[in-house]
Symmetry: C2
């Protein structure tokens, strides 16, 4: 498995484009993306668990029910959630994309991201479809990835090559997500393409398993969005024998892609100055480890301390304590780690002496790991988040985003 360039257009038979259509006032910000496969794909999706779901989420769930799709349309600047005529507008978008590409509108995946509660302006979307379709290209992955950004400060994409059945397959992906990010979802917006041949049921199982260990272990602010979805299209053009069951290679590729994007989303959390990674080892089960690690990266007090590069480890113990997961504080060992080194601050029920200067230096790096070892079993999990900063408040307090 090796990383390559090209994002969602790295796999054979996928073209993409992104442009400004006018949903946003700012002409410099692309606001619509289209991804199209040259043939019908096996398709799988996971969706937000939020009870208040955006209209495009419902539409995509319906269109993916048969495990097939051929194109993805996504706008930024408006979430089409709790919005007048939401279902009609999601439906019209699919009809128009189907007509523009000459495909069945039920094979179109539709997604939106942006402000909740405002009617989606259909005119710029409909007007954009002709130029957008004309712009589709096998090198358009990067432009599409730019077009779905909202408060994201960096474009998030990845592509890689892997072997299946002696054939070289490719997988590409793009994602957006910066605020309203919290575990318990099929998360944020993430679109994955691959030219591997995979049966829909096998693709769904592999995608769900990868999301569980990656996007569902990210939190920025504890707010689960109304619009989250992660979708994978597999068009089979690599020529491998169709994957019908579990494939270690496919699962590894999906896990690599989703881990990369999950970390990128956490690192680019609204206002974030650093990526937080919490790993809990030795828990009585993986799910216990996950609950403990999620609670740590989700704690406002831990996040604020990390912003201040303050080794306030009591807040880590506190957050594990209220996680709802069982553990024995007397057996816990707690360390902070980064590129600048490692410091153990608590072990066996005892606070340890440590150098505050050394700890501050370790915590001042761009990526900081909080590592907890227990002695209750083999359960391990890593969750990701970011620090809580003045800029998070500015971004979310100063204007409607």
């Amino acid at each position: 498995m090796k990383e390559i360039s090209g994002g969602v257009t790295a796999p054979q038979g996928f073209r993409a484009a992104g442009m400004h259509c006018g949903i946003r006032a700012n002409h410099d910000k692309k606001d619509i993306a289209l991804i199209a496969s040259d043939c019908l794909c096996a398709a799988a999706g996971v969706y937000t668990k939020n009870l208040v779901k955006a209209a495009p989420v419902y539409k995509t769930m319906a269109n993916l029910a048969n495990g097939r799709a051929a194109a993805i349309i996504c706008n930024s600047g408006n979430a089409n959630a709790c919005a007048p005529r939401g279902a009609d507008n999601a439906n019209s978008t699919c009809l128009a994309v189907g007509a523009a590409l000459g495909i069945n509108p039920d094979d179109v995946i539709v997604a939106s991201t942006g402000v909740i509660g405002q009617e989606l302006n259909m005119e710029p979307i409909l007007k954009s479809l002709l130029p957008l379709t004309a712009a589709l290209s096998t090198t358009g992955g990067g432009e599409a990835a730019e077009a779905i950004m909202t408060t994201d400060t960096v474009k998030k994409e990845i592509a890689l090559e892997f072997e299946l059945d002696g054939k070289t397959c490719r997988m590409g992906a793009m994602a957006k997500g910066s605020g309203m990010i919290h575990p318990n979802m099929g998360t944020m917006l993430c679109f994955i393409t691959t030219d591997a041949a995979v049966a829909p049921a096998a693709l769904q199982r592999a995608l769900s398993a990868a999301v569980k260990k990656t996007f569902n272990r990210v939190t920025v602010d504890g707010d689960t969005s109304t619009n989250d979805m992660a979708v994978c299209l597999a068009n089979g053009m690599a020529g491998n024998a169709e994957v019908m069951g579990d494939s270690a290679e496919l699962s590894a590729a999906l896990l690599t892609v989703c881990t990369h994007l999950a970390r990128a989303i956490a690192a680019d959390g609204e206002g974030a100055t650093k990526l937080l990674e919490c790993t809990v080892r030795g828990a009585e089960s993986e799910s216990v480890a996950e609950m403990l690690a999620k609670s740590v990266v989700g704690s406002s007090l831990v996040k604020a301390a990390m912003y201040g590069s303050d080794a306030n480890w009591g807040r880590v113990m506190c957050a594990m304590g209220y996680s709802g997961a069982p553990f024995d504080p007397a057996t816990a060992t707690l360390s902070f780690e980064s590129a600048a080194g490692s410091v153990t601050v608590y072990s066996g029920g005892e606070a340890l002496e440590f150098s505050e200067e050394e700890a501050t230096n370790i915590l001042s790096q761009k990526e900081v790991a909080i590592v907890v070892s227990l002695r209750a079993g083999g359960g391990e999990a890593t969750c990701w988040g970011c620090d809580l900063t003045y800029d998070y408040v500015r971004i979310n307090g100063d204007y409607r985003s």
Copy 2:
């Protein structure tokens, strides 16, 4: 029932004092409080649900197991949680207070609040007991309330008179809490005194019921503390016939006292500029209403929008959607209310037109209510929180608190 002055020393037979003993470096900040009853009291307590509990919480749980207590000692500046010799130090504190007051050390309630993970320095505590005992006075409630403050910016106390069995009874209370405040606890530090005669079991039931509807409906930052406790002492000096079962008057007095302090804690949340109150009506049950309202006041995105006085109601719908509680968005009506008026922004599944200027004016007040009406039943609950501000980040990022 009428409000009176005097805090925890308003009821007959209670004396209190607060002073600086030296746990904190700042000589201007009182850091130890003592409350003593002239006779043994019926006593009830509720405690943090955090699995990581501070040593004084365990000690108080043990000492209150027999439903009796006579004094409360509380220091600020050090939480005595995850700290070396924590249990020994909580125990020594009770022994020393018992000796200083001439009472059984098992009748002493001990509480601590401050930094987690540092050893409690016993010398200033032990040295303070003689002057603290000498300073005990029937007008010392205010000084005691000051001594338990940490990041609190205002002293939180209340007292009132009520009738039981034809006798005038008094109830006084003090509380602290500003950060590490989140529902699911017996919460923060709150000490309530009353001269009513109440059997321990009846007092425990009434206190638990009041806490459930007040402190357990407050959140500042989603972090449940290791040191929370709410304790009530009833010394019987009002001369009423002992309350053995449910008393509407006693319950009303406790609810009034706890509601006042819960609101005071939310309004004084770390960095807060305004009190948020979310009321959900017409839910299928009270517990559903509570889950929905708690999720709204706990949402970082709602809190940041309220800081910016931004009527971003989509975030309110989103927070209810991920609360885990069932409701039908199509039947929801959503309004913002304050002293400046009321604006309805969403009703029957539809976004409503409203004046942004009017909404901003309503949201710019010191107390803002988010009111949600459903049409699913008679369940109603109110939860309290505060806005998320730059100062929350400053307070929790810039130094170990």
